[in-house]
Symmetry: C2
Subunit: 413 residues, 2 copies
C-alpha cells in the first residue's frame, strides 16, 4: 500500500482532545488506503519544561544526559496517539527512536540521521498494522545512547521517514495554515503562499521562520520529498496549506518571496585578536567542536597585527561559545584581550529565488532600513537571500518596512 | 569496589532541590568507597498523570502502549540525577531499562524480571564511572518492547540490581522513616520498627502497606538481600530506618507485628453460577489471563446446582474482570445470571510471625471487630496473617481498634 507520512507538532498534540482530532485526520488517510507513518512531537510545553530542568541542574550539561531527558516527551505522545488510534479501531503501535531503529551520529543534542532501516516497521505493515506512530526528534547512536536531532527535529524525522519509506507525501500539521511572506503577528499584511520553492523555504527556515526545521527542508530537497505544511485546526483538504516543491512547479516567482527574522541571535566580538594566518580556523574550529552554530562572521581591518573578530550565534549558545574561546586562550591556541557578547540584536532577512536574476535587491533593502534610521551591524548574503543584524528594538519595524517596500502583500500572476 | 544500591522514591526526587539532596547522599556513599547503583522513580505525581492520560484515552488500553507511556517519567529523573551528580564531580551516567538491559517477561504492566546482565554497567565502573543511575520500574521484553513492573516496581528493580551485583546493601529512600506497626496517619499510636522479618514485611507489603512493593521483598528474601527502609528527609546514619532481615536477627518477636489496610479492593460477585466440577478453574483461569489479581475467594453453599461466587481484586481491575467474565459467558465457558461489583469495601489485616506459635489471634481479631459493630464480609488467613474485607467506612476504626487490642504501641523486650 502507498505510504503517507503525517507529522503533528506540539500544539497539534497538546491535549488528549487534540490528539483525538489528529488521530481522526490519520483515520481519514487510512480509509483512503494509505499505510501511515505518524511522527509526533511532545505535547506543547513539555520539551521546554524538560530543557529548563536540565539547564537548571547543570548549565554546561552532558549532552548525552540532556538527550536522555528531553526525548521523553515524544515517547508519551507516541503511546497516547497509538492508543487513540486503537480506540478508533485503527491497528496502530508506537515506536521509540531506538526501536525503529532511527540511527544517528553521536553528536548529542544535534545528531544527524544516518539510517532508517524500514524492515521492522514494514514487517508490521505486512501483518496488518496500518499506522506506525513514531516518537519524533530522537534516535540512537552507535554507542546505544539516545540522541536528539535539535529543536524542531521532528520535522526532520518526518521527512527522513518519507524518504526511507518512499512516501507519496509528507504532511506537516502545525498551528499555522501554511508558509507566509512574513510572520503575520508582526506584519498584518503578511500573505499565505500556496507554493514555495525548496530553496526559498530552506533559507526562510534557517533564518528563523519557525514553520519547518531547516534540515527537514534540506532533506526534502535532496530526496525530492513532496512536503506540505498544513493547519491542524482547519478543515482538511488536499489543496490546503503550502506545498514546498521544485521551483519549476511555481508559476508566480516573486523577486522577494518572504521576510524572515530571528530574535535568538547574539553578536559576539573577540577584541584585539592577534592576527595571523590560520587565526580564523583557530577560532572557529573550537567553536564548531563545542557545538556552536556560527552564522555571520565579520573581521575588522587589521591594525598593528591585531584585529577584532565578530560573529553571531544563537543566544542559548553564548555560554558555550565563551567557554570554548576562554579554553582556547588558556591553551595558547588563540590570543585576545576580551570577549564581548551582545544579546540585544536581531537578524532580519529577505529571501527570493528571483534575486538571482534581479540586481538591486540589496541596495533597496539597505535604503529602506536607512530611511527608517536603522543601523546595520553585520551583513551576509547568499544567492537568494540577504541578512542583516540590527538592534533588536527595530526588528518589527524593519520587517514591516521591507514587506511594504517589496510589495509582498500582492501575489504576482 | 563494593557495590551499594540506593533507591529513591517519587517524593524523594519530586523537585530539582530534592534530587540534589538525594545526590548528596549518594556522594557520601561514593566517598566511603562504594560503587553505587541508584534506582530512581518518576518525580512524584508524574506517573499518576501519565496513567490518567492513558485511562482517559483508552479505558481498556493496550498494555504495551501503557508501558511505553508510563515508563517515561523515570527516564527524566535518571537523566537529571546523573547531571546533578556530574555537577558534584561524581562520574555518573543514566541507564534506561532497555540499555542495561533489564530483561523481563512480556506481561506488560506487570512484567517480571528475568535477567540483569551486569556486564555493561560493570564495564563502565571499570572505566571509572562511580554511579550508574538506572530508571526504575521498567525493562525490555524479548520482543524489544518496553515493559513495566507494576506500581512500586522501582523497589523490585532496586532489589534485583542488589542481587545481580551482589550489593552490600539495598537502601530504599522514601518519605517515611521506616516500617510502622500501622499507618501513623490513621493510628497515632503507630510505632516504628527497628527490624522486621522478611516474611512479615512480605505480608504487610502485599496487604497494602505502601512502604515496599511485595515482589521486592520476595526477591530480597530469595536472594538474601539486606534491605533497609530509610527516610530521605532526615539525617543519615547507618542505624536509621527499618532493616528488613531474617527473623533470627530479631530479638523482639511480637505475636502481631503490624496492622495493614487497603482501600483499593473491590468485591465482585458472580450471581447464580452453574455449579459443576471445574467451575472455579473456568472462572479464575480467564481472570488470570486478563491480568486480574484475584485475592480473596468465597463460594456460597450450592443450592439446586447454582451458587454465588465472590472474589476480591484491586479496584482498577474491575472493568477488566467484568469484561473477562462477560467474554467467558458469551463463549459458553461459564454461566451466571449477573455480575456485581462493590467498590465500597476495604481490607484490614493483622500480621505477625508469632502467630505461628500462638492460637487465638483470629478469635481475638473477630471479637474486636464485633465489639465495634463491624461486619466481616470475607475472611482469608495464612500462617502469619489474617485478613478481612469490611465496609470501607469502618476501615480506620478497625485499624485503631486492632492496634489497641494487640498493644502494638509497646515494644516487647
Amino acid at each position: 500500500m502507498p505510504v503517507l507520512v503525517m507529522k503533528f507538532g506540539g500544539t497539534s498534540v497538546a491535549t488528549l482532545d487534540r490528539i483525538r482530532r489528529a488521530a481522526k485526520r490519520v483515520g481519514v488517510e487510512v480509509a483512503k488506503g494509505y499505510d501511515v507513518i505518524v511522527i509526533v512531537s511532545a505535547m506543547a510545553g513539555k520539551t521546554n519544561e524538560l530543557v529548563g530542568w536540565v539547564n537548571e541542574t547543570s548549565p554546561l550539561y552532558d549532552a548525552r544526559e540532556y538527550d536522555a531527558v528531553v526525548s521523553s516527551g515524544e515517547n508519551v505522545t507516541a503511546g497516547l496517539m497509538a492508543l487513540t488510534l486503537q480506540e478508533m479501531d485503527v491497528p496502530a503501535r508506537s515506536w521509540q527512536g531506538w526501536q525503529v531503529p532511527l540511527k544517528t551520529t553521536s553528536q548529542h543534542a544535534s545528531a544527524r540521521i544516518t539510517e532508517i532501516p524500514p524492515d521492522n516497521i514494514n514487517a508490521k505493515f505486512a501483518e496488518g498494522m496500518r499506522v506506525a506512530v513514531v516518537a519524533g526528534f530522537q534516535g540512537i547512536s552507535d554507542e546505544g545512547r539516545i540522541t536528539t536531532l535539535g529543536r524542531g527535529g521532528s520535522d526532520t524525522t518526518a521527512v527522513a521517514f518519507a524518504a526511507a519509506f518512499d512516501a507519496e507525501r509528507c504532511d506537516i500539521y502545525t498551528d499555522v495554515d501554511g508558509v507566509y511572506t512574513t510572520d503575520p503577528r508582526i506584519c498584518e499584511k503578511a500573505r499565505k503562499l500556496d507554493k514555495i520553492a525548496f530553496e526559498e523555504m530552506l533559507e526562510l527556515a534557517s533564518l528563523g521562520a519557525k514553520v519547518l526545521q531547516t534540515r527537514s527542508v534540506e532533506l526534502a530537497l535532496r530526496y525530492n520529498v513532496k512536503l506540505r505544511v498544513v493547519s491542524s485546526f482547519e478543515e482538511q483538504s488536499d489543496e490546503a496549506g503550502t506545498l514546498v516543491c521544485d521551483e519549476e512547479e511555481i508559476m508566480e516567482l516573486n523577486v522577494v518571496s518572504g521576510v524572515a527574522y530571528s530574535r535568538d541571535e547574539a553578536k559576539m566580538t573577540l577584541i584585539s585578536v592577534a592576527d595571523r594566518p590560520g587565526i580564523a580556523a583557530a577560532i572557529f574550529g573550537p567553536l564548531s567542536e563545542a557545538g556552536v552554530n556560527v552564522d555571520m562572521i565579520v573581521q575588522n581591518i587589521s591594525e598593528e597585527g591585531r584585529t577584532d573578530m565578530t560573529f553571531s550565534c544563537p543566544t542559548d549558545q553564548v555560554a558555550r561559545a565563551e567557554k570554548a574561546m576562554i579554553d582556547a586562550k588558556s591553551s595558547g591556541d588563540i590570543n585576545f584581550h576580551d570577549i564581548v557578547a551582545d544579546t540585544n540584536v536581531a537578524k532580519v532577512s529577505v529571501v527570493g529565488i528571483g534575486m538571482r536574476s534581479h540586481a538591486g535587491v540589496a541596495a533597496k533593502m539597505f535604503q529602506v532600513l536607512s530611511d527608517e534610521g536603522i543601523n546595520i551591524k553585520v551583513i551576509t548574503t547568499s544567492e537568494i537571500k540577504i541578512s542583516v543584524l540590527i538592534d533588536r528594538k527595530y526588528m518589527e519595524l524593519a520587517v514591516q518596512a521591507l514587506h511594504d517596500a517589496f510589495e509582498l502583500e500582492k501575489a504576482t500572476v
